[in-house]
Symmetry: D2
Subunit: 165 residues, 4 copies
């Protein structure tokens, strides 16, 4: 039976230390809940940190790579999906996640949030950036949730999953 | 030799009358410049209005459909590309445009702007919505331009094209 | 109103002189009929030759590129669609064509024929290779047509289009 | 660290009883080797049978769905990837598999074999159909292997994996 998959999206090379620390914690907490972690799969930034956090807690990690090959895959990814569709894979990231958590903000992350909301997915914003919070809450008031820290994000994820059953 | 293609992105069913009026004017002005118009191809909203505007000025119109079939294509689209990749086609819309003009705002449009900027494309926002202007200018200060009306958008497009030669 | 689009598929770097000569003739004949030519868009092999043939007869040419950029586009392509989805763009090639003509054979071409037939498109094989003829006719007896030369392929295309109206 | 993924491709609704029986055995044998099974994910035909075989041996199963939603997912799929890219997902199926096993033949399967070979993947044909064997061996002599039964296919998979290390 299909397992619950939680997507953690965020910057690659541009991720800040705080975002990577949050991502690591998110990955760990997701694994501890028995959920599968899904990320963009590359060996940098939020994707890499979240995957490492999940593996530290013996979780299962899926990486949806933009490329045709595995060269850039995080060592903490168990299952690599090689899409070769570039940034169009952002739509697959969010469609394949029961809940999407955006850890920080950036152009790729913004596209994932917009695509997730377009596909009626709930999105949790783990960012203190007010401009981003305002923009997405304005676009989709019912589906956007603001988290102050990783624990908060997990609590919100549980609530969203409970409602969707 | 490859023709210059200008993408006009905007809402479908949710487009306002003002957005559709702007789109129609944009389509017409794009055609008058001798540029090709590219849209999401469907027979509603900004896509449909822009395509009709371009045809009124004898322009060439390309529609990048999300579906495998042509049922929902605008009657003003000359060349329909049936992608069958759903919202992932938003990435193709922006990659295939020399300049992207966002006419209004919505979830699909927001994803297209983010993907365009991620791909180093210049984006012109034709919207009076300050929240959207602030969000995207903040994410990508160098590549986002604000237009107050269709004529303004065309003038900005010319400037961007002149610089990219 | 949507124009009729005829797709010509075939090898890139591996195309033989005979295949390129056939492709050039096909492009020319397609343009003379007033149809739009669609190819994989790159500046090699069948794609390039067919596009050049069509331009020689003042036709309109569409190229569906596998890449995000235009570096490898044929100089004879008018409208380049930059998909950035690699070989997955083969499905777009065939979905966007009213009739698909395979000029020669190869791995990419074989995938396009199979995808076209899967999508209930008619496919004309312009190849003397009996193994390929047998394989595809066996898989899809109703939709596969064998042409002996470019003129033959155009006659078959007309028949298929007449039936599909 | 990335786990080894073996893709089993084959017909959906059109699969024969023999093909489904072979698929079930393949799934079981793949799981017993400790490999992850990847299929097209739907609840019919070869995909469904292979996934059920793998789960019977406590394996891990990935399903790459053509749709945006999970309605048609096999109950034996652990991780569903919702691509919403239709048959273009066939390219992802093969790119994400270390070895591809074609169990039977059909239009979708033929496209997957061609795309796998195009991407330099080795493909094992588990089919007694001589026409298919001849066609693909002819197109790609080095990468096509013929198996007479599921055990044979697993032995060939081991050899291919051993060479690719």
């Amino acid at each position: 039976m299909r397992k619950i998959v939680i997507g953690v999206m965020g910057a690659g090379e541009q991720a800040t230390d705080e975002e990577k620390d949050n991502a690591r914690q998110l990955g760990q907490l997701i694994a501890l809940q028995g959920w599968v972690l899904l990320t963009g799969g590359r060996n940098v930034g939020v994707m890499d940190a979240a995957s490492k956090g999940a593996k530290a807690a013996n979780g299962l990690t899926i990486g949806i790579l933009p490329t045709a090959h595995y060269e850039s895959v995080s060592e903490a990814v168990d299952i690599a999906i090689a899409t070769d569709i570039g940034n169009a894979r952002n739509n697959i990231n969010v469609l394949s996640s029961d809940v999407v958590i955006a850890c920080g903000m950036g152009l790729g992350t913004a596209s994932e949030i917009a695509l997730a909301l377009k596909n009626q997915k709930s999105v949790i914003l783990l960012t203190s950036d007010r401009i981003s919070q305002t923009f997405f809450s304005h676009l989709s008031p019912q589906q956007v949730f603001i988290a102050n820290n990783p624990d908060d994000a997990i609590a919100l994820t549980k609530e969203i999953l409970a409602k969707s059953v």
